[in-house]
Amino acid sequence: MTAANVKLVKTLVLAFLAIWLVFTGFPLFFMIVTSLKPVEEINRMVPTFWPETMRPQNYAGIFADPGSLKSLVDSLIVSSANTVLSLFLGTLAGYALARWVRGVVGENLAFFILSNRMFPPVAILIPMFFLFDATPWGTDSYVSLIVLYLVFNMPLATWLMMVFFRDAPRELEEAAYLDGYSPFRAFFKVTLPLVFPGMISVAMLCWIFAWNEYLFANLLTGTTVKTFPVHIPTFTLGSQTLWNLVMAFSLVAMLPPVILFIVLRRYMVRGLSLGVVKG
Protein backbone atom coordinates (compact mmCIF):
# COMPACT_ATOMS: atom_id res chain seq x y z
CA MET A 1 0.00 0.00 0.00
CA THR A 2 1.21 3.43 -0.82
CA ALA A 3 1.29 6.24 1.70
CA ALA A 4 -1.72 7.89 0.04
CA ASN A 5 -3.69 4.67 0.29
CA VAL A 6 -2.87 4.29 3.97
CA LYS A 7 -4.11 7.81 4.53
CA LEU A 8 -7.30 7.14 2.59
CA VAL A 9 -8.03 3.99 4.58
CA LYS A 10 -7.41 5.86 7.82
CA THR A 11 -9.75 8.65 6.77
CA LEU A 12 -12.44 6.16 5.78
CA VAL A 13 -12.12 4.32 9.07
CA LEU A 14 -12.40 7.59 10.99
CA ALA A 15 -15.39 8.67 8.91
CA PHE A 16 -17.08 5.36 9.57
CA LEU A 17 -16.39 5.63 13.29
CA ALA A 18 -17.80 9.17 13.30
CA ILE A 19 -21.02 8.03 11.62
CA TRP A 20 -21.23 5.07 13.96
CA LEU A 21 -20.73 7.35 16.96
CA VAL A 22 -23.58 9.61 15.87
CA PHE A 23 -25.77 6.60 15.12
CA THR A 24 -25.31 5.08 18.57
CA GLY A 25 -24.72 8.25 20.54
CA PHE A 26 -27.62 10.38 19.34
CA PRO A 27 -30.46 8.25 20.77
CA LEU A 28 -28.75 8.35 24.15
CA PHE A 29 -28.21 12.07 23.86
CA PHE A 30 -31.85 12.64 22.91
CA MET A 31 -32.98 10.44 25.79
CA ILE A 32 -31.02 12.54 28.25
CA VAL A 33 -32.25 15.82 26.70
CA THR A 34 -35.87 14.67 26.68
CA SER A 35 -35.65 13.50 30.28
CA LEU A 36 -34.76 17.05 31.29
CA LYS A 37 -37.57 18.79 29.42
CA PRO A 38 -40.88 19.97 30.85
CA VAL A 39 -44.06 18.36 29.47
CA GLU A 40 -44.89 21.39 27.29
CA GLU A 41 -41.67 20.99 25.38
CA ILE A 42 -41.85 17.31 24.53
CA ASN A 43 -44.75 17.29 22.10
CA ARG A 44 -43.69 20.09 19.77
CA MET A 45 -43.75 19.54 16.01
CA VAL A 46 -40.19 20.88 15.76
CA PRO A 47 -38.23 19.24 18.53
CA THR A 48 -35.67 21.15 20.51
CA PHE A 49 -32.23 19.62 20.80
CA TRP A 50 -31.51 21.29 24.12
CA PRO A 51 -34.14 21.95 26.81
CA GLU A 52 -35.36 25.56 26.80
CA THR A 53 -36.24 25.13 30.46
CA MET A 54 -34.31 22.57 32.48
CA ARG A 55 -36.51 20.33 34.59
CA PRO A 56 -34.31 17.91 36.56
CA GLN A 57 -37.30 17.51 38.90
CA ASN A 58 -38.52 14.87 36.41
CA TYR A 59 -36.17 12.46 38.12
CA ALA A 60 -37.61 13.15 41.51
CA GLY A 61 -41.08 13.11 39.97
CA ILE A 62 -40.95 9.56 38.69
CA PHE A 63 -40.28 8.30 42.17
CA ALA A 64 -43.24 10.22 43.51
CA ASP A 65 -45.17 7.32 42.05
CA PRO A 66 -44.52 4.51 44.57
CA GLY A 67 -44.85 1.96 41.77
CA SER A 68 -41.67 3.16 40.08
CA LEU A 69 -39.25 2.17 42.78
CA LYS A 70 -41.08 -1.06 43.43
CA SER A 71 -40.89 -2.00 39.75
CA LEU A 72 -37.12 -1.59 39.81
CA VAL A 73 -36.92 -3.72 42.94
CA ASP A 74 -39.16 -6.35 41.33
CA SER A 75 -36.95 -6.41 38.26
CA LEU A 76 -33.89 -6.75 40.45
CA ILE A 77 -35.40 -9.68 42.34
CA VAL A 78 -36.55 -11.49 39.20
CA SER A 79 -33.39 -10.97 37.15
CA SER A 80 -30.99 -11.73 40.00
CA ALA A 81 -32.79 -14.87 41.14
CA ASN A 82 -33.10 -16.05 37.57
CA THR A 83 -29.40 -15.41 36.92
CA VAL A 84 -28.32 -17.37 39.98
CA LEU A 85 -30.57 -20.26 39.00
CA SER A 86 -29.55 -20.21 35.31
CA LEU A 87 -25.90 -20.10 36.20
CA PHE A 88 -26.18 -22.88 38.75
CA LEU A 89 -28.06 -25.22 36.43
CA GLY A 90 -26.16 -24.13 33.32
CA THR A 91 -22.77 -24.65 34.93
CA LEU A 92 -23.59 -28.16 36.12
CA ALA A 93 -25.24 -29.13 32.83
CA GLY A 94 -22.46 -27.54 30.79
CA TYR A 95 -19.83 -29.44 32.76
CA ALA A 96 -21.69 -32.70 32.30
CA LEU A 97 -21.99 -32.13 28.56
CA ALA A 98 -18.37 -31.08 28.20
CA ARG A 99 -16.85 -33.94 30.18
CA TRP A 100 -19.17 -36.87 30.62
CA VAL A 101 -21.86 -37.03 27.95
CA ARG A 102 -19.70 -37.63 24.95
CA GLY A 103 -20.08 -38.80 21.38
CA VAL A 104 -23.19 -38.60 19.25
CA VAL A 105 -25.57 -38.37 22.20
CA GLY A 106 -23.67 -35.49 23.80
CA GLU A 107 -23.44 -33.42 20.63
CA ASN A 108 -27.12 -33.81 19.83
CA LEU A 109 -28.26 -33.26 23.38
CA ALA A 110 -26.27 -30.05 23.61
CA PHE A 111 -27.69 -28.83 20.33
CA PHE A 112 -31.20 -29.79 21.36
CA ILE A 113 -30.84 -27.74 24.53
CA LEU A 114 -29.63 -24.72 22.59
CA SER A 115 -32.38 -25.12 20.00
CA ASN A 116 -34.85 -24.14 22.73
CA ARG A 117 -33.64 -20.62 22.10
CA MET A 118 -34.38 -20.77 18.41
CA PHE A 119 -38.17 -20.91 18.33
CA PRO A 120 -40.04 -17.61 18.38
CA PRO A 121 -40.98 -16.88 22.00
CA VAL A 122 -44.39 -15.59 20.94
CA ALA A 123 -45.29 -19.15 20.01
CA ILE A 124 -45.37 -20.16 23.66
CA LEU A 125 -46.71 -16.92 25.06
CA ILE A 126 -50.32 -18.02 25.54
CA PRO A 127 -49.53 -21.63 26.54
CA MET A 128 -47.16 -20.30 29.19
CA PHE A 129 -49.90 -18.15 30.62
CA PHE A 130 -52.20 -21.13 31.10
CA LEU A 131 -49.37 -23.28 32.31
CA PHE A 132 -48.39 -20.89 35.09
CA ASP A 133 -52.02 -20.16 35.83
CA ALA A 134 -52.37 -23.80 36.80
CA THR A 135 -49.50 -23.66 39.28
CA PRO A 136 -50.05 -22.89 42.99
CA TRP A 137 -48.23 -19.58 42.76
CA GLY A 138 -50.19 -18.42 39.68
CA THR A 139 -49.00 -16.17 36.89
CA ASP A 140 -48.56 -12.91 38.77
CA SER A 141 -45.64 -13.87 41.00
CA TYR A 142 -41.87 -13.74 41.26
CA VAL A 143 -41.61 -17.49 40.91
CA SER A 144 -43.45 -17.53 37.59
CA LEU A 145 -41.10 -15.05 35.95
CA ILE A 146 -37.97 -16.53 37.53
CA VAL A 147 -38.88 -19.99 36.28
CA LEU A 148 -40.14 -18.76 32.92
CA TYR A 149 -36.91 -16.93 32.09
CA LEU A 150 -35.03 -20.17 32.65
CA VAL A 151 -36.52 -21.29 29.33
CA PHE A 152 -34.35 -18.71 27.61
CA ASN A 153 -31.39 -18.27 29.93
CA MET A 154 -30.63 -21.85 30.89
CA PRO A 155 -29.93 -23.10 27.34
CA LEU A 156 -27.68 -20.12 26.78
CA ALA A 157 -25.87 -20.65 30.08
CA THR A 158 -25.56 -24.39 29.47
CA TRP A 159 -24.19 -23.99 25.99
CA LEU A 160 -21.70 -21.26 26.85
CA MET A 161 -20.53 -23.01 30.01
CA MET A 162 -20.08 -26.20 28.01
CA VAL A 163 -17.80 -24.35 25.60
CA PHE A 164 -15.83 -22.84 28.48
CA PHE A 165 -15.45 -26.21 30.20
CA ARG A 166 -14.31 -27.81 26.95
CA ASP A 167 -11.57 -25.23 26.73
CA ALA A 168 -10.47 -25.78 30.32
CA PRO A 169 -7.72 -28.41 30.15
CA ARG A 170 -8.88 -31.81 31.29
CA GLU A 171 -5.37 -32.66 32.47
CA LEU A 172 -5.77 -30.25 35.37
CA GLU A 173 -8.66 -32.28 36.75
CA GLU A 174 -6.84 -35.52 36.10
CA ALA A 175 -3.80 -34.17 37.91
CA ALA A 176 -6.07 -33.29 40.82
CA TYR A 177 -7.53 -36.83 40.86
CA LEU A 178 -4.02 -38.25 40.97
CA ASP A 179 -3.05 -35.84 43.70
CA GLY A 180 -5.95 -37.19 45.73
CA TYR A 181 -8.96 -35.02 45.04
CA SER A 182 -12.42 -36.47 44.58
CA PRO A 183 -14.14 -35.50 41.30
CA PHE A 184 -16.37 -33.18 43.31
CA ARG A 185 -13.50 -31.32 44.95
CA ALA A 186 -11.51 -31.23 41.72
CA PHE A 187 -14.47 -29.58 40.04
CA PHE A 188 -14.87 -26.87 42.65
CA LYS A 189 -11.24 -26.22 43.49
CA VAL A 190 -9.53 -26.69 40.14
CA THR A 191 -11.93 -26.43 37.21
CA LEU A 192 -14.41 -23.85 38.41
CA PRO A 193 -11.80 -21.13 39.05
CA LEU A 194 -10.65 -21.61 35.45
CA VAL A 195 -14.08 -20.89 33.99
CA PHE A 196 -14.88 -18.13 36.47
CA PRO A 197 -14.46 -15.29 33.93
CA GLY A 198 -16.76 -17.20 31.63
CA MET A 199 -19.33 -17.54 34.41
CA ILE A 200 -19.28 -13.79 34.91
CA SER A 201 -19.98 -13.21 31.21
CA VAL A 202 -22.80 -15.73 31.23
CA ALA A 203 -24.24 -14.14 34.37
CA MET A 204 -24.20 -10.73 32.69
CA LEU A 205 -25.96 -12.00 29.57
CA CYS A 206 -28.61 -13.80 31.62
CA TRP A 207 -29.11 -10.88 33.93
CA ILE A 208 -29.53 -8.34 31.14
CA PHE A 209 -32.04 -10.55 29.31
CA ALA A 210 -34.16 -10.98 32.44
CA TRP A 211 -33.79 -7.29 33.35
CA ASN A 212 -35.13 -6.03 30.04
CA GLU A 213 -37.68 -8.72 29.18
CA TYR A 214 -41.10 -7.22 28.40
CA LEU A 215 -43.27 -9.58 26.39
CA PHE A 216 -43.78 -12.34 28.98
CA ALA A 217 -43.66 -10.03 31.97
CA ASN A 218 -46.43 -7.92 30.47
CA LEU A 219 -48.73 -10.88 29.87
CA LEU A 220 -48.07 -12.85 33.04
CA THR A 221 -47.59 -10.17 35.67
CA GLY A 222 -48.70 -6.65 36.37
CA THR A 223 -50.41 -6.40 39.74
CA THR A 224 -48.58 -8.18 42.54
CA VAL A 225 -45.34 -8.18 40.61
CA LYS A 226 -44.54 -5.53 38.05
CA THR A 227 -41.09 -5.35 36.48
CA PHE A 228 -39.90 -1.99 35.21
CA PRO A 229 -40.45 -2.67 31.46
CA VAL A 230 -44.11 -3.27 32.34
CA HIS A 231 -44.15 -0.12 34.45
CA ILE A 232 -42.91 2.17 31.67
CA PRO A 233 -46.19 2.12 29.64
CA THR A 234 -48.01 3.48 32.72
CA PHE A 235 -46.45 6.86 31.92
CA THR A 236 -48.88 7.02 29.05
CA LEU A 237 -51.93 8.88 30.30
CA GLY A 238 -55.06 8.75 28.15
CA SER A 239 -54.22 11.18 25.39
CA GLN A 240 -50.51 11.71 25.79
CA THR A 241 -47.29 9.99 26.73
CA LEU A 242 -45.06 11.72 29.28
CA TRP A 243 -41.91 11.14 27.27
CA ASN A 244 -39.81 13.14 29.69
CA LEU A 245 -40.74 10.76 32.52
CA VAL A 246 -40.37 7.69 30.30
CA MET A 247 -36.87 8.78 29.37
CA ALA A 248 -35.89 9.73 32.90
CA PHE A 249 -37.12 6.40 34.22
CA SER A 250 -35.46 4.45 31.40
CA LEU A 251 -32.16 6.16 32.12
CA VAL A 252 -32.43 5.19 35.78
CA ALA A 253 -33.27 1.63 34.72
CA MET A 254 -30.20 1.58 32.49
CA LEU A 255 -27.88 2.36 35.38
CA PRO A 256 -27.67 -1.07 37.06
CA PRO A 257 -26.59 -2.99 33.93
CA VAL A 258 -24.18 -0.24 32.92
CA ILE A 259 -22.59 -0.14 36.37
CA LEU A 260 -22.43 -3.95 36.46
CA PHE A 261 -20.74 -4.01 33.10
CA ILE A 262 -18.17 -1.41 34.09
CA VAL A 263 -17.35 -3.24 37.31
CA LEU A 264 -17.15 -6.68 35.70
CA ARG A 265 -15.74 -5.58 32.34
CA ARG A 266 -12.39 -7.17 33.09
CA TYR A 267 -13.98 -10.60 33.47
CA MET A 268 -16.43 -10.07 30.62
CA VAL A 269 -13.70 -9.57 28.06
CA ARG A 270 -11.66 -12.47 29.37
CA GLY A 271 -14.73 -14.67 29.54
CA LEU A 272 -15.98 -13.91 26.07
CA SER A 273 -12.53 -14.41 24.56
CA LEU A 274 -11.93 -17.63 26.48
CA GLY A 275 -13.00 -19.70 23.52
CA VAL A 276 -10.93 -17.72 21.04
CA VAL A 277 -7.57 -17.03 22.63
CA LYS A 278 -5.77 -20.14 23.69
CA GLY A 279 -2.63 -20.27 25.70
Binding site: G103, V104, P169, E171, L172, E174, A175, A176, Y177, L178, D179, G180, Y181, V190, P193, L194
Partner: protein, 368 residues
Protein backbone atom coordinates in the same frame (compact mmCIF):
# COMPACT_ATOMS: atom_id res chain seq x y z
CA UNK B 1 7.51 -48.60 45.39
CA UNK B 2 6.15 -51.46 43.42
CA UNK B 3 6.56 -53.93 40.63
CA UNK B 4 3.98 -53.19 37.94
CA UNK B 5 2.56 -56.12 35.97
CA UNK B 6 0.34 -55.81 32.95
CA UNK B 7 -1.31 -59.14 32.19
CA UNK B 8 -2.96 -59.41 28.72
CA UNK B 9 -4.29 -55.90 29.05
CA UNK B 10 -6.75 -54.70 26.42
CA UNK B 11 -8.39 -51.36 25.77
CA UNK B 12 -11.30 -50.96 23.41
CA UNK B 13 -12.86 -47.52 22.84
CA UNK B 14 -16.35 -47.27 21.44
CA UNK B 15 -16.61 -44.77 18.61
CA UNK B 16 -18.96 -43.64 15.89
CA UNK B 17 -17.18 -45.91 13.42
CA UNK B 18 -17.28 -48.98 15.64
CA UNK B 19 -15.00 -50.12 18.44
CA UNK B 20 -11.34 -49.11 18.32
CA UNK B 21 -8.86 -51.60 19.73
CA UNK B 22 -6.29 -49.22 21.21
CA UNK B 23 -4.27 -51.70 23.25
CA UNK B 24 -4.17 -55.41 22.43
CA UNK B 25 -2.98 -58.23 24.71
CA UNK B 26 -0.25 -56.25 26.39
CA UNK B 27 2.07 -58.19 28.70
CA UNK B 28 4.75 -56.19 30.50
CA UNK B 29 6.41 -56.57 33.87
CA UNK B 30 8.15 -53.51 35.21
CA UNK B 31 10.48 -54.39 38.07
CA UNK B 32 10.61 -52.43 41.31
CA UNK B 33 12.85 -49.39 40.87
CA UNK B 34 13.20 -49.89 37.15
CA UNK B 35 13.09 -47.05 34.64
CA UNK B 36 11.01 -48.21 31.68
CA UNK B 37 10.20 -46.22 28.57
CA UNK B 38 7.15 -46.93 26.46
CA UNK B 39 8.06 -45.92 22.94
CA UNK B 40 5.99 -45.78 19.80
CA UNK B 41 4.59 -43.56 17.09
CA UNK B 42 1.52 -41.50 17.92
CA UNK B 43 -1.65 -43.56 18.01
CA UNK B 44 0.16 -46.77 18.93
CA UNK B 45 -1.64 -47.15 22.26
CA UNK B 46 1.11 -46.00 24.58
CA UNK B 47 -0.90 -43.18 26.14
CA UNK B 48 -3.91 -45.46 26.64
CA UNK B 49 -1.58 -47.94 28.34
CA UNK B 50 -0.30 -45.32 30.70
CA UNK B 51 -3.76 -43.99 31.48
CA UNK B 52 -4.85 -47.51 32.40
CA UNK B 53 -1.87 -47.93 34.72
CA UNK B 54 -2.67 -44.62 36.37
CA UNK B 55 -6.40 -45.28 36.60
CA UNK B 56 -7.70 -42.48 34.39
CA UNK B 57 -9.03 -45.02 31.89
CA UNK B 58 -10.98 -48.19 32.55
CA UNK B 59 -9.36 -51.50 31.60
CA UNK B 60 -11.43 -53.36 29.01
CA UNK B 61 -9.71 -56.70 29.56
CA UNK B 62 -6.80 -58.19 31.49
CA UNK B 63 -5.30 -57.28 34.84
CA UNK B 64 -2.87 -54.65 36.07
CA UNK B 65 -1.11 -55.48 39.33
CA UNK B 66 1.03 -53.37 41.63
CA UNK B 67 3.22 -55.99 43.32
CA UNK B 68 0.66 -58.77 43.60
CA UNK B 69 -2.40 -56.62 44.16
CA UNK B 70 -4.78 -56.16 41.21
CA UNK B 71 -5.58 -52.46 40.84
CA UNK B 72 -8.19 -52.61 38.06
CA UNK B 73 -10.99 -51.39 40.30
CA UNK B 74 -8.99 -48.82 42.29
CA UNK B 75 -9.16 -45.05 41.81
CA UNK B 76 -5.98 -43.13 40.90
CA UNK B 77 -5.75 -41.98 44.50
CA UNK B 78 -6.04 -45.52 45.89
CA UNK B 79 -3.40 -46.76 43.44
CA UNK B 80 -1.08 -44.06 44.76
CA UNK B 81 0.49 -43.15 41.45
CA UNK B 82 2.09 -39.86 40.50
CA UNK B 83 2.06 -38.51 37.01
CA UNK B 84 3.65 -35.64 35.12
CA UNK B 85 1.64 -34.50 32.13
CA UNK B 86 2.69 -33.53 28.64
CA UNK B 87 0.96 -30.18 29.09
CA UNK B 88 2.38 -29.87 32.64
CA UNK B 89 -1.14 -29.34 34.05
CA UNK B 90 -0.05 -26.86 36.70
CA UNK B 91 -2.91 -25.27 38.60
CA UNK B 92 -2.86 -21.76 37.13
CA UNK B 93 -4.32 -19.98 40.16
CA UNK B 94 -1.83 -21.47 42.64
CA UNK B 95 1.75 -20.35 43.16
CA UNK B 96 4.58 -22.75 42.43
CA UNK B 97 4.97 -23.56 46.10
CA UNK B 98 1.24 -24.26 46.37
CA UNK B 99 1.35 -26.40 43.23
CA UNK B 100 4.20 -28.45 44.63
CA UNK B 101 2.62 -28.76 48.05
CA UNK B 102 -0.85 -29.58 46.72
CA UNK B 103 -0.58 -33.41 46.82
CA UNK B 104 0.58 -33.18 50.44
CA UNK B 105 -2.10 -30.69 51.39
CA UNK B 106 -4.77 -33.03 50.05
CA UNK B 107 -3.33 -35.80 52.22
CA UNK B 108 -3.51 -33.61 55.29
CA UNK B 109 0.21 -33.09 55.83
CA UNK B 110 0.62 -30.14 58.19
CA UNK B 111 1.94 -26.82 57.00
CA UNK B 112 5.43 -27.03 58.49
CA UNK B 113 6.22 -30.46 57.10
CA UNK B 114 4.75 -29.43 53.77
CA UNK B 115 6.93 -26.38 53.43
CA UNK B 116 10.02 -28.42 54.26
CA UNK B 117 9.12 -30.98 51.60
CA UNK B 118 8.42 -28.28 49.00
CA UNK B 119 11.82 -26.81 49.66
CA UNK B 120 13.51 -30.21 49.42
CA UNK B 121 11.93 -30.96 46.03
CA UNK B 122 12.55 -27.42 44.81
CA UNK B 123 16.25 -27.85 45.64
CA UNK B 124 16.35 -31.19 43.87
CA UNK B 125 14.94 -29.58 40.73
CA UNK B 126 16.73 -26.24 41.23
CA UNK B 127 13.59 -24.09 41.30
CA UNK B 128 13.89 -22.58 44.80
CA UNK B 129 13.93 -19.06 43.38
CA UNK B 130 10.52 -19.21 41.68
CA UNK B 131 8.39 -20.70 44.47
CA UNK B 132 6.36 -17.50 44.85
CA UNK B 133 5.49 -17.15 41.14
CA UNK B 134 2.34 -18.21 39.30
CA UNK B 135 2.77 -20.84 36.55
CA UNK B 136 1.92 -18.38 33.76
CA UNK B 137 5.10 -16.42 34.47
CA UNK B 138 7.38 -19.41 34.06
CA UNK B 139 9.28 -20.63 31.02
CA UNK B 140 8.43 -24.02 29.52
CA UNK B 141 11.45 -25.62 31.13
CA UNK B 142 10.58 -24.29 34.56
CA UNK B 143 6.93 -25.35 34.25
CA UNK B 144 8.11 -28.78 33.26
CA UNK B 145 10.34 -29.05 36.31
CA UNK B 146 7.50 -27.93 38.57
CA UNK B 147 5.23 -30.59 37.11
CA UNK B 148 7.94 -33.18 37.74
CA UNK B 149 8.33 -31.82 41.24
CA UNK B 150 4.63 -32.17 41.99
CA UNK B 151 4.93 -35.83 41.04
CA UNK B 152 8.14 -36.36 42.96
CA UNK B 153 7.00 -34.79 46.22
CA UNK B 154 4.94 -37.83 47.12
CA UNK B 155 6.10 -41.35 47.74
CA UNK B 156 3.98 -43.11 45.12
CA UNK B 157 3.99 -46.73 44.00
CA UNK B 158 5.00 -45.67 40.52
CA UNK B 159 5.85 -42.51 38.62
CA UNK B 160 4.36 -41.99 35.21
CA UNK B 161 5.86 -39.39 32.89
CA UNK B 162 3.78 -38.69 29.79
CA UNK B 163 5.74 -37.13 26.91
CA UNK B 164 7.09 -34.63 29.40
CA UNK B 165 9.90 -33.45 27.14
CA UNK B 166 7.99 -32.98 23.91
CA UNK B 167 7.52 -29.22 24.32
CA UNK B 168 11.10 -28.43 25.27
CA UNK B 169 13.73 -27.16 22.85
CA UNK B 170 16.60 -29.49 22.02
CA UNK B 171 19.14 -27.88 24.33
CA UNK B 172 16.86 -27.86 27.37
CA UNK B 173 15.73 -31.38 26.59
CA UNK B 174 19.28 -32.75 26.86
CA UNK B 175 19.70 -30.97 30.16
CA UNK B 176 16.39 -32.33 31.51
CA UNK B 177 17.19 -35.85 30.34
CA UNK B 178 20.33 -35.69 32.40
CA UNK B 179 18.44 -34.27 35.40
CA UNK B 180 15.77 -36.93 35.18
CA UNK B 181 18.35 -39.67 35.05
CA UNK B 182 20.06 -38.15 38.08
CA UNK B 183 16.75 -37.95 39.96
CA UNK B 184 15.91 -41.55 39.17
CA UNK B 185 19.32 -42.71 40.31
CA UNK B 186 19.12 -40.79 43.55
CA UNK B 187 15.56 -41.91 44.36
CA UNK B 188 15.55 -45.41 42.87
CA UNK B 189 11.84 -45.43 42.19
CA UNK B 190 9.81 -47.23 39.55
CA UNK B 191 9.32 -44.89 36.63
CA UNK B 192 7.42 -45.29 33.40
CA UNK B 193 8.32 -42.79 30.73
CA UNK B 194 6.10 -42.50 27.67
CA UNK B 195 7.54 -40.94 24.53
CA UNK B 196 7.55 -41.04 20.76
CA UNK B 197 11.19 -39.97 20.69
CA UNK B 198 13.59 -42.92 20.57
CA UNK B 199 16.50 -40.75 21.62
CA UNK B 200 14.81 -39.91 24.95
CA UNK B 201 13.74 -43.50 25.49
CA UNK B 202 17.16 -44.97 24.82
CA UNK B 203 18.95 -42.30 26.84
CA UNK B 204 16.83 -42.72 29.96
CA UNK B 205 15.40 -46.16 30.28
CA UNK B 206 16.76 -49.42 31.65
CA UNK B 207 14.37 -51.18 29.32
CA UNK B 208 12.20 -49.92 26.48
CA UNK B 209 8.81 -51.26 25.44
CA UNK B 210 8.27 -50.55 21.77
CA UNK B 211 4.61 -50.39 20.74
CA UNK B 212 2.96 -50.15 17.38
CA UNK B 213 -0.60 -50.74 16.18
CA UNK B 214 -1.89 -51.36 19.70
CA UNK B 215 0.57 -54.20 20.26
CA UNK B 216 3.85 -54.60 22.08
CA UNK B 217 6.53 -55.18 19.47
CA UNK B 218 9.48 -55.72 21.76
CA UNK B 219 10.45 -55.14 25.38
CA UNK B 220 14.17 -55.08 26.01
CA UNK B 221 17.34 -53.18 26.77
CA UNK B 222 18.68 -50.74 24.24
CA UNK B 223 21.30 -53.30 23.12
CA UNK B 224 18.62 -55.87 22.44
CA UNK B 225 16.52 -53.34 20.51
CA UNK B 226 19.48 -52.15 18.55
CA UNK B 227 21.26 -55.39 17.73
CA UNK B 228 18.44 -57.91 17.83
CA UNK B 229 15.23 -56.08 16.92
CA UNK B 230 12.29 -58.46 17.12
CA UNK B 231 10.90 -57.38 13.80
CA UNK B 232 11.20 -54.98 10.95
CA UNK B 233 9.18 -52.27 12.73
CA UNK B 234 11.56 -52.14 15.70
CA UNK B 235 14.60 -52.14 13.42
CA UNK B 236 13.07 -49.27 11.48
CA UNK B 237 11.90 -47.25 14.49
CA UNK B 238 15.06 -47.53 16.58
CA UNK B 239 18.10 -45.81 15.18
CA UNK B 240 18.69 -42.59 13.27
CA UNK B 241 18.88 -42.43 10.27
CA UNK B 242 16.51 -45.39 9.86
CA UNK B 243 17.69 -48.85 8.91
CA UNK B 244 18.12 -49.71 5.23
CA UNK B 245 15.84 -52.54 4.09
CA UNK B 246 16.15 -54.64 0.96
CA UNK B 247 13.83 -57.25 -0.47
CA UNK B 248 16.27 -60.03 -1.18
CA UNK B 249 16.38 -63.48 -2.70
CA UNK B 250 18.07 -66.26 -0.80
CA UNK B 251 20.64 -67.83 -3.13
CA UNK B 252 23.01 -70.69 -2.48
CA UNK B 253 26.18 -71.21 -4.49
CA UNK B 254 28.70 -73.86 -3.49
CA UNK B 255 27.22 -74.18 -0.01
CA UNK B 256 27.46 -70.43 0.65
CA UNK B 257 24.19 -68.63 1.35
CA UNK B 258 23.90 -65.07 0.06
CA UNK B 259 21.06 -62.52 0.04
CA UNK B 260 20.88 -60.90 -3.36
CA UNK B 261 18.72 -57.92 -4.17
CA UNK B 262 17.03 -58.71 -7.50
CA UNK B 263 17.76 -56.35 -10.38
CA UNK B 264 20.92 -54.99 -8.74
CA UNK B 265 24.46 -56.12 -8.07
CA UNK B 266 23.85 -55.91 -4.33
CA UNK B 267 24.35 -59.15 -2.42
CA UNK B 268 24.90 -59.55 1.33
CA UNK B 269 26.22 -62.35 3.47
CA UNK B 270 25.21 -62.73 7.08
CA UNK B 271 26.45 -64.31 10.29
CA UNK B 272 26.77 -68.13 10.52
CA UNK B 273 23.94 -68.29 13.07
CA UNK B 274 21.56 -66.47 10.74
CA UNK B 275 22.68 -68.55 7.79
CA UNK B 276 21.76 -71.64 9.80
CA UNK B 277 18.41 -70.14 10.70
CA UNK B 278 17.76 -69.28 7.07
CA UNK B 279 18.53 -72.87 6.07
CA UNK B 280 16.08 -74.13 8.71
CA UNK B 281 13.38 -71.76 7.63
CA UNK B 282 13.71 -72.49 3.94
CA UNK B 283 11.89 -70.18 1.55
CA UNK B 284 13.19 -68.17 -1.31
CA UNK B 285 12.79 -64.60 -0.08
CA UNK B 286 13.80 -62.51 2.94
CA UNK B 287 14.14 -58.87 4.02
CA UNK B 288 17.67 -57.68 4.67
CA UNK B 289 18.16 -54.86 7.15
CA UNK B 290 21.39 -53.02 7.79
CA UNK B 291 21.90 -49.85 9.77
CA UNK B 292 23.55 -46.82 8.13
CA UNK B 293 25.99 -46.79 11.06
CA UNK B 294 27.18 -50.26 10.09
CA UNK B 295 28.10 -49.42 6.50
CA UNK B 296 31.61 -48.14 5.87
CA UNK B 297 33.48 -46.80 2.90
CA UNK B 298 36.77 -47.10 4.77
CA UNK B 299 38.71 -50.41 4.83
CA UNK B 300 37.38 -52.94 7.36
CA UNK B 301 38.64 -56.32 8.55
CA UNK B 302 36.80 -59.53 7.65
CA UNK B 303 34.10 -57.56 5.94
CA UNK B 304 31.73 -58.19 3.10
CA UNK B 305 31.30 -55.47 0.57
CA UNK B 306 28.98 -54.24 -2.16
CA UNK B 307 29.62 -51.64 -4.81
CA UNK B 308 27.35 -48.65 -5.31
CA UNK B 309 27.29 -45.12 -6.69
CA UNK B 310 27.11 -42.08 -4.40
CA UNK B 311 23.88 -40.25 -5.23
CA UNK B 312 23.97 -37.66 -2.46
CA UNK B 313 26.46 -36.55 0.17
CA UNK B 314 24.75 -34.62 2.99
CA UNK B 315 27.30 -32.91 5.20
CA UNK B 316 25.97 -32.58 8.77
CA UNK B 317 29.03 -31.22 10.53
CA UNK B 318 30.19 -34.11 12.67
CA UNK B 319 29.33 -36.65 10.03
CA UNK B 320 27.93 -37.03 6.57
CA UNK B 321 24.97 -39.05 5.38
CA UNK B 322 25.77 -40.73 2.09
CA UNK B 323 22.89 -41.90 -0.08
CA UNK B 324 23.89 -44.65 -2.50
CA UNK B 325 22.12 -45.86 -5.53
CA UNK B 326 22.44 -49.12 -7.37
CA UNK B 327 20.11 -49.53 -10.34
CA UNK B 328 17.21 -47.79 -8.66
CA UNK B 329 17.64 -49.27 -5.16
CA UNK B 330 18.92 -46.66 -2.73
CA UNK B 331 20.32 -46.94 0.79
CA UNK B 332 22.18 -44.74 3.22
CA UNK B 333 25.35 -44.86 5.26
CA UNK B 334 26.97 -42.65 7.87
CA UNK B 335 30.49 -41.58 7.07
CA UNK B 336 33.10 -39.28 8.59
CA UNK B 337 32.79 -35.75 7.16
CA UNK B 338 36.12 -36.01 5.36
CA UNK B 339 35.09 -39.24 3.62
CA UNK B 340 36.23 -39.39 0.03
CA UNK B 341 32.85 -39.86 -1.60
CA UNK B 342 32.00 -37.34 -4.27
CA UNK B 343 28.57 -37.48 -5.83
CA UNK B 344 28.68 -39.82 -8.81
CA UNK B 345 31.71 -41.78 -7.60
CA UNK B 346 31.43 -45.54 -7.46
CA UNK B 347 32.79 -46.91 -4.20
CA UNK B 348 32.97 -50.14 -2.25
CA UNK B 349 30.64 -50.16 0.74
CA UNK B 350 31.78 -52.53 3.48
CA UNK B 351 29.89 -54.22 6.30
CA UNK B 352 30.34 -56.91 8.93
CA UNK B 353 28.17 -59.96 8.24
CA UNK B 354 27.10 -59.98 11.89
CA UNK B 355 25.44 -56.57 11.35
CA UNK B 356 23.27 -57.85 8.53
CA UNK B 357 19.81 -58.49 9.99
CA UNK B 358 17.39 -60.81 8.24
CA UNK B 359 13.61 -60.63 8.55
CA UNK B 360 10.92 -62.95 7.30
CA UNK B 361 9.17 -61.50 4.24
CA UNK B 362 5.67 -62.39 5.43
CA UNK B 363 5.75 -62.01 9.21
CA UNK B 364 8.52 -59.37 9.25
CA UNK B 365 9.92 -61.12 12.34
CA UNK B 366 13.66 -61.41 12.87
CA UNK B 367 15.18 -64.64 11.55
CA UNK B 368 17.45 -65.91 14.35
Amino acid sequence: MARVTLDTVNKIYPSRHGPVHAVQDLDITIEDGEFVAVLGPSGCGKTSTLRMIVGLETITGGTIRFDDRPVNELTPEQRNVAMAFETYALYPNFTIAENLGFPLEVRGVDRKAREAEVLRVARLLRIEDILGHKPAHLSGGQQQRVSLGRALIRDPAVFILDEVMSHLDAHLKLQMLFELKRIHQSMGKTMVYVTHDQMEALALADRVAVMSNARLQQFGTRDELYHAPANRFVADFIGEPPTNFFDAEVTETAGEIALAVPGTDLAFTTSPARVAALRNRGGKRAIVGIRPQNLFITPLDDAGSVTATVALNEYLGEQSILTFDDKGVSFRALAPPDADAKTGATVAVRYRPADVMVFDTDTEALVA
